[in-house]
């Protein structure tokens, strides 16, 4: 494999922390709903990005595949809003 391995455990720890953070934010913090939603969604997307980049190796794929992988996201957003 061309690239050097990322430290998978580190990514795992990362995800773990973020998940705990999410649950905390959702329950402890008395933030207003909109802010809450915004924070939670950004955290979720952040985690998703980590998985895609490191576990699915998107980070190390030829750019053309990355483009291909990101292509439908606008549509996904379109349908969801």
């Amino acid at each position: 494999m061309a690239h050097k391995k990322p430290n998978y455990y580190l990514v795992w720890l990362y995800l773990l922390v973020l998940t705990i953070a999410e649950v905390m934010v959702a329950f402890i913090s008395g933030l207003p709903f909109e802010v809450l939603v915004f924070i939670l969604l950004s955290l979720a997307i952040w985690k998703a990005a980590l998985v895609a980049m490191y576990y699915m190796h998107l980070r190390f794929e030829p750019p053309r595949l990355v483009v291909l992988a990101l292509a439908p996201l606008p549509l996904a957003v379109l349908i969801t809003i």
């Binding site: 439908p72 549509l75 349908i79």
Partner: protein, 601 residues
């Protein structure tokens, strides 16, 4: 990662045809559960033509009822009491007829013909591959389409009859049996489409992978024949649109069976949600039904006028543009649905813009025949008809795209006229062109040109006599999906025109038998096809008809674009893509960068 995996499987490690020892697959592997893309293409052809016949038969019944309302239909006596007591069609059966007609034609005739048949026939041959990337997946794609089709067909005989809520299946009508009188049928409709969705997905994954990864040396992106470009974009549309339909159909099925209320207002569900999901899939779907047709027409028109396609890059660009815009126009089906009128305005804009890339295609087709040397072989006739008819359908689309005008013509026969001008006049004529063009390659026999021309003439004339008056019916205010227009005083004056339409509709149906007969007859009796009957350029014409299992004996090399017709100073007026340039001057393509077609610079 090991290099063998990086490059090899894609291009070099393919199982090329081996003339030295004959193809010794057992019958069942060869003709039934075959993984050979050519066989699968043929299978798709027979399946879809069958369903085209079914859809046509249903249309004949529709037209009978509208032409002679309440009259017993000749031979209608054979239908059971629940459909047509004494040959008189019942209103609930009429609704099923319309629904099933639309469903079969769109999902089981035109779509599998364009995508299933042509996709399988053309992609590996045109890009110079030995087969699809995933032959077994390809086989599954076909063998899941078949049961889907027959489930749909079976719904006619179940309790309560076939789905009757229109091919658009708007809930609550489609979700609540008490409203429509149809229970099982409506559920089978969902199930069948979900299965068909899987079939289409498998196809799309295959096409995309094959086109991206398995192009022969020198087959750069801008040297791909236009049918491949359009099928590539179509595959992307399928890949991203079908899951939406599947999701919606599943939710609808839940509403019908386990009692959820996604689309039912009682508990806060949203009838309009279905319409948004359906049309978010639905409009890309209609471009799935036209883009491959455009590709085929381009191929045939360039061949028929012995001239390079006019503005190849623009043609490619237009395909991409249409596909992209197709994602942001779905609201134009919902102008009168209660959707926010301001959204209506923006959807009107995006919809209208699509006229522009379409314009590019139309005028480039004209540019292609301009100063050409036009040979009127049957495929060419149908391709020219495609252009002529698609323009009418497209222009009528512009009326509906204008929100205020759509207020009046929405859900009238004006829409029905539009549908048929784009789907029959567009897609189906291109399909005819394509079948006449490639049948020899895949069955080794020519279709009879005489029968072909007769079929074309009859179809073209009758077709216009049937569908053009529908514009006027629509402007007269005649609604769609009505069993008996004479219920309305203001529609009674239209009855003569309805009868007129019906007469020629029957004639149109009958004249299709010529085609039917032509195919069956030519399969056994047609004259043997040479390897390149149309003196065409793309790779498949260099092979035997039909090509051997594995297609090419060795990886072909591609030296130029597919439309090098009438190249000055060549004896022949065509120039195969894989013929090494004379003088052996190799224009080695580099990566994805195109070489100006064939022109030694």
């Amino acid at each position: 990662m090991s290099t063998t995996q990086l490059l090899a499987p894609n291009v070099t490690a393919q199982h090329w045809a081996d003339p030295s020892h004959p193809d010794d697959r057992p019958f069942i592997r060869k003709y039934v559960f075959s993984t050979d893309h050519k066989t699968i293409g043929n299978q798709f052809m027979f399946m879809s033509l069958f369903f085209l016949l079914v859809g046509g038969a249903l249309a004949m019944m529709i037209r009978w009822q509208l032409g002679w309302p309440g009259q017993p239909m000749p031979g209608g006596g054979v239908l059971p009491e629940t459909m047509a007591p004494g040959g008189i069609l019942l209103p609930e059966f009429y609704n099923s007829l319309v629904t099933m007609h639309g469903t079969f034609m769109i999902f089981f005739a035109i779509m599998p013909l364009l995508v299933g048949m042509f996709g399988n026939w053309l992609i590996p041959l045109h890009v110079g591959a030995s087969d699809m990337a995933f032959p077994r997946l390809n086989m599954m794609s076909f063998w899941s389409a078949v049961p889907a089709g027959f489930i749909m067909l079976a719904s006619f005989v179940v309790e309560g009859g076939a789905a009757g809520a229109g091919w658009t299946a708007y809930p609550p009508l489609s979700a609540v049996p008490e409203y429509s009188g149809v229970s099982t049928g409506q559920q089978l409709w969902c199930v069948s489409l979900i299965i068909l969705g899987f079939s289409s997905l498998m196809g799309a994954v295959n096409y995309i992978t094959t086109i991206v990864n398995m192009r022969a040396p020198g087959m750069t992106w801008l040297r791909m024949p236009l049918p491949i470009w359009s099928l590539f974009i179509t595959a992307i549309l399928i890949l991203l649109a079908i899951p939406i339909l599947a999701g919606a159909a599943i939710m609808l099925l839940f509403d019908q069976t386990i009692g959820t209320t996604f689309f039912l207002p009682e508990a806060g569900g949203q009838p309009l949600l279905w319409q948004h999901l359906f049309w978010y899939f639905g409009h890309p779907e209609v471009y799935i039904l036209i883009l491959p047709a455009m590709g085929i027409a381009s191929e045939v028109i360039a061949n028929g006028s012995r001239k390079p396609i006019f503005g190849y890059p623009a043609m490619v660009g237009a395909i991409v543009a249409i596909a992209f815009l197709g994602w942001i126009v779905w609201g134009h089906h919902m102008f009168q649905s209660g959707m926010n009128p301001l959204l209506g305005s923006s959807f009107m804009l995006s919809t209208m813009i699509i006229a522009v890339p379409s314009a590019i295609k139309v005028f480039n087709w004209l540019g292609t025949i301009w100063r050409g040397d036009i040979h009127f072989h049957t495929p060419m006739l149908n391709a020219l008809a495609f252009v002529a008819m698609f323009v009418i359908g497209g222009l009528s689309g512009v009326f509906m795209a204008s929100t205020p005008v759509d207020i009046y013509i929405h859900d009238t026969y004006f829409i029905v006229a539009h549908i048929h001008y784009v789907l029959f006049g567009g897609s189906l004529f291109a399909i005819f062109a394509g079948i006449y063009f490639w049948f020899p390659k895949f069955f080794g026999r020519m279709l009879s040109p005489t029968l072909g021309k007769i079929h074309f003439a009859l179809t073209f004339v009758f077709y216009n006599l049937v569908f053009f008056p529908m514009h006027n019916l629509g402007l007269g205010g005649m609604m769609r999906r009505i069993y008996d227009p004479n219920q309305y005083g203001f529609l009674e004056p239209l009855q003569p025109m309805n009868t007129f339409v019906s007469v020629f509709a029957l004639a149109l149906g009958v004249s299709q038998l010529v085609f039917f007969f032509n195919i069956l007859w030519s399969l056994w009796r047609g004259e043997k096809a040479p390897s390149n009957p149309w003196r065409s350029n793309s790779l498949e014409w260099g092979l035997a008809s039909p090509p051997p299992h594995g297609n090419f004996e060795a990886m072909p090399a591609v030296y130029r674009g597919p439309y090098e017709y009438s190249y000055p100073g060549r004896g022949e007026d065509f120039w195969p893509q894989d013929e090494p340039p004379d003088g052996g001057a190799v224009h080695a393509p580099t990566g994805g960068v195109p070489i100006p077609e064939g022109v030694p610079q």
